[in-house]
């Protein structure tokens, strides 16, 4: 309990201190990424190519490292393969010692952050200067980077000015971004000109030619690499790709993914030691001298070989560190990497990196902040399934928890395939189906209890349920009972020859809580000529999956498939109202069901708006659906629905029926299933939802959302009812049914 309150307080503090700057920076870069990729027709082709190159490179890594070593040696450089951080740091300190180096300038490198190179070199008596301006700010402030690409995105211009004015005491106090940049450039320019060693990272390493590729906007990597006589490049072993010919998709993707830039300002391809002449600024009257350069490439294992052998963490090695998963993440946008990150890495992919490099315990300190909303999935330029990595790590954490940690109160309630060590909170939310069934069976008593302060205090104590979140209102007469009451549950005959035969999958939220949207879905489908049956109400597996209970989720998936299989055999398409459940059938089941079963089901499962539009496209009469007559609708589609690119059909339907639709670019409502109900995250969840609530609160019209949790969040934040769009489309007059 105390731990939950502490987590909530820590997150609240970070939102207060850093949230606004992080939000401003990440949302600008995120919007830039979306815009530039929308204007480019080769995005998907390049992603597929980049993914294939990375898969192949990691598969052939031992062979590529041999090729690379031969190339670097032939070029006259040195390749050092370091086992771990200490090994790498010793080697780098040795290079500095050999040259009696007093100072070293560094361009931005997350791998050197991982190694703690700066601290190791300080102990060896070498002064290290970060030359990337963001890294410089963080170094001066003695803080950790808060983002893979923008290490200081948690600071405003004013805060950086205060920092620099206090530390450097310039004659004229610095105020503007321009003045700060000029000051840092001049200060670091001197450091670069006098440095004995230059260190860079490498975004890519080309095995065939022994080249390093460094992507920057500032020009500091070029200067750091080429000004001192010694260049040390440091990278993880996963950065190796076969050759220059493999570079184009990455050059095209990385700037777009990171910051919405069509290409980064400097994509530097160096095959050191280079032909650039030597320059010695300590002897200003001397000319440039013929090249006599020293080059060391330090490639680091530090857990990566083991990640390569790990079926789930292996995918992390494809990461190009663009930060798009952080920028597209609603939680990250609010808290930044000081909460959503581990020892070094930040954002959704950090779970994979930290689990592989530091261990599960470090990943466990922030893994809960991934809600599985999946908005990072289309953002990742190498198509890493980041939510899945987070889910599997959560599962491993659950299984690693001490056996005494479970709570008997919840243990008896929800038997499943999960270990006793699973926390009571995860167990409760993972088996939300049992709760919903009990809630409906005992309504209205369950609703009175849910609203009772003493009961909520006990629930907070026992399972970490936030005491201030209104709970969904359980309905005594479920959707399935309503359906059974119509014609004894038989499908009503289709009115037209072109009719489709569909089975509506009654997700549990539709069945027990938001019954109206189920009834509306049936009516709307029938109105466009479908003959509707319903299948057995079942939990799709989404709830346990989001708690990291993979085995339970797989069991649920199998039950759902068994319940739908006869309908598929009968030629029926499957229609789903709840987007998070539809996304299970279409996306997550790929991990949970045998291949043929997944292929069969996913190809026939449709979101209700998507299916209605399909019917119109195939000739059904649009006038059979409710008319909007210009009424304003603020519509928030669900995060997982958008990842499947399924916002469009519903917006299209509403607009075709004459509604005046406002949508939102907010990545997630913040509720994210159970996340917003948890005592430690409810506050953050409300903060995440605030921009959406603000935008929609200003709309004088109907509020609509496709997801249950989005609707619950908006109702809580705005105090206004929220309908599913199908409720607007089901009735003849376009009013809520």
């Amino acid at each position: 309990m105390t731990a939950r309150r502490e987590t909530a307080a820590r997150l609240h503090r970070l939102v207060e201190d850093e949230g606004d700057a992080v939000y401003a920076n990440t949302t600008v870069h995120n919007a830039g990424r979306v815009a530039v990729n929308a204007s480019w027709d080769r995005y998907e082709a390049n992603r597929a190519r980049a993914r294939a190159i990375k898969e192949d490179a990691i598969e052939r890594l031992p062979e590529l490292l041999e090729t690379l070593e031969a190339a670097v040696t032939a070029n006259g450089g040195h390749l050092y393969l370091a086992d771990d951080a200490a090994d790498a740091n010793d080697y780098i300190a040795g290079v500095c010692r050999e040259r009696d180096a007093e100072t070293l300038v560094k361009s931005k490198s997350m791998t050197t952050e991982e190694l703690g190179v700066n601290e190791a070199l300080a102990e060896a008596g070498v002064d290290v200067y970060e030359t990337d301006l963001g890294e410089f700010v963080v170094q001066v402030a003695h803080e950790q980077p808060s983002h893979l690409v923008g290490p200081a995105i948690h600071k405003t211009t004013e805060e950086i000015a205060d920092l620099f004015n206090a530390v450097f005491e310039p004659d004229e106090p610095l105020e503007t971004a321009e003045a700060l940049t000029d000051f840092a450039r001049d200060y670091l320019g001197e450091r670069i000109r006098e440095a004995d060693v230059g260190m860079t990272g490498a975004n890519f390493v080309l095995a065939e030619s022994g080249s390093v590729v460094i992507v920057t906007n500032e020009g500091n990597a070029r200067k750091s690499a080429v000004t001192p006589p010694v260049h040390v490049a440091v990278a993880g072993i996963e950065k190796v790709i076969p050759s220059l010919a493999d570079l184009p998709p990455f050059v095209e993707l990385i700037g777009k993914s990171a910051a919405g830039q069509s290409i980064s300002r400097y994509v530097t391809i160096l095959t050191p030691p280079t032909d650039s002449p030597m320059v010695d600024f300590d002897r200003p009257d001397e000319g440039l001298a013929p090249a006599d350069r020293e080059f060391h490439l330090v490639l680091v294992d530090n857990g990566r070989w083991a990640m390569r052998d790990d079926g789930t963490l292996r995918e992390t090695l494809y990461c190009v560190r663009c930060g798009a998963c952080a920028n597209s993440c609603a939680n990250f946008q609010r808290v930044g990497g000081h909460a959503f990150g581990g020892e070094t890495y930040t954002g959704g992919i950090a779970t994979g990196w930290e689990a592989g490099i530091e261990g599960l315990d470090v990943a466990g300190t922030f893994n809960d902040l991934c809600t599985g909303c999946s908005r990072c999935v289309p953002a990742c330029p190498v198509k890493i399934d980041i939510p899945w990595i987070n889910t599997v790590v959560r599962d491993r954490l659950n299984r690693g928890a001490p056996p005494g940690a479970f709570d008997p109160l919840v243990e008896g309630l929800v038997p499943d395939a999960e270990p006793g060590g699973l926390s009571a909170q995860k167990r409760l939310f993972g088996d939300v189906g049992t709760l919903l069934r009990l809630g409906s069976a005992t309504a209205p008593v369950s609703n009175w209890l849910a609203a009772s302060r003493p009961v909520r205090a006990v629930l907070e104590w026992a399972v970490g349920l936030d005491p201030d979140r209104p709970l969904p209102t359980f309905r005594r007469r479920t959707f399935a009972r309503w359906f059974a009451g119509r014609d004894g549950g038989a499908a009503r005959g289709a009115s037209k020859e072109s009719a489709s035969d569909v089975v509506l999958f009654p997700d549990l939220y539709t069945n027990h809580v938001r019954v109206e949207r189920g009834r509306a879905a049936v009516r709307a489908l029938e109105a466009v000529g479908c003959s509707v049956s319903i299948s057995q109400p079942l939990e799709s597996g989404r709830a346990p999956l989001s708690q990291g209970m993979v085995a339970t989720a797989a069991e649920r998936a199998e039950r759902v498939f068994e319940s739908l299989e006869p309908h598929l055999d009968a030629g029926r398409d499957v229609v789903v109202v709840e987007p998070s459940d539809l996304a299970m059938l279409r996306r997550e089941y790929e991990r949970l069901l045998p291949g043929p079963a997944f292929d069969r089901l996913s190809g026939r499962a449709f979101e209700v708006g998507e299916y209605l539009r399909r019917c119109l496209d195939e000739g059904a009469d649009a006038d059979a659906l409710g008319a909007g007559d210009g009424r304003a609708v603020a519509y928030h589609s669900h995060c997982q629905q958008r990842t499947l690119d399924l916002e469009g059909p519903t917006v299209d339907l509403l607009e075709r029926r004459g509604f005046d639709v406002t949508t939102s670019a907010v990545e997630c409502c913040g509720m994210a299933g159970s996340f917003g109900y948890k005592a430690e995250y409810a506050g953050l969840s409300r903060d995440v939802g605030a921009p959406l609530a603000e935008a929609f609160g200003a709309v004088d019209g109907v509020l609509a959302a496709s997801g249950t949790s989005c609707a619950e969040q908006l109702e809580d934040l705005l105090g206004r009812p929220v309908v599913h769009p199908v409720e607007l489309l089901a009735s003849g007059d376009g009013r809520r049914t």
Binding site: V251, Y266, P272
Partner: protein, 169 residues
């Protein structure tokens, strides 16, 4: 075709706030003289038919002259039409240093060396690799940072870039 690529290239440069002009081989020294802010340093052009002689650019600077130069003049071995990128190679004449240190970079591009897009440019670079010239930067617009809270141009690299495209004879 080449003319179309140059136009596309110039449109991309406009989007990056990079100024540009077209000239001929004969007019190049005069064009460069007009385009630089003194003192200007440079790296010798790698082409037999083009020269910076007569441009007033110091082609063998000392370290101090490099540090204090207002303009650096280099060749770009190729340019990317779609992005406005200049491929500046690391050559013994000091192109890398000259293109990154002074606050203004003037790049000389031959019209026939403008290629369509990034894959084409990397194809061009592949030929250069085969010839032993294996270091180059895709430099696209002025150096920039957003690390101080808003976009500022002119960080460690040049804050202003000017491109002189030399028409084919």
């Amino acid at each position: 075709m080449a003319a179309d690529l140059v136009s596309t290239f110039e449109t991309a440069l406009d989007g990056l706030a990079v100024t540009h002009e077209r000239t001929t081989a004969a007019e190049l020294p005069a064009a460069v003289r007009r385009a630089v802010v003194a003192p200007a340093v440079g790296a010798p052009l790698p082409w037999d038919d083009l020269t910076l002689d007569g441009s007033g650019v110091n082609l063998s600077p000392t370290a101090g002259e490099l540090r204090d130069a207002a303009t650096g003049v280099t060749a770009a071995g190729a340019a990317v039409a779609s992005e406005g990128s200049l491929l500046v190679q690391s050559r013994p004449g000091g192109d890398e240093l000259v293109s990154v240190y002074p606050p203004r970079h003037v790049a000389v591009v031959r019209a026939g060396d403008v290629v369509a897009d990034v894959p084409a440019a990397i194809g061009w670079l592949g030929d250069e690799f085969a010839a032993g010239r294996r270091s180059a930067v895709f430099a696209t617009g002025p150096s920039a940072t957003a690390d101080m809270g808003e976009l500022v141009e002119g960080v460690h690299g040049p804050g202003a870039v000017h491109v002189v495209t030399v028409a084919e004879p």
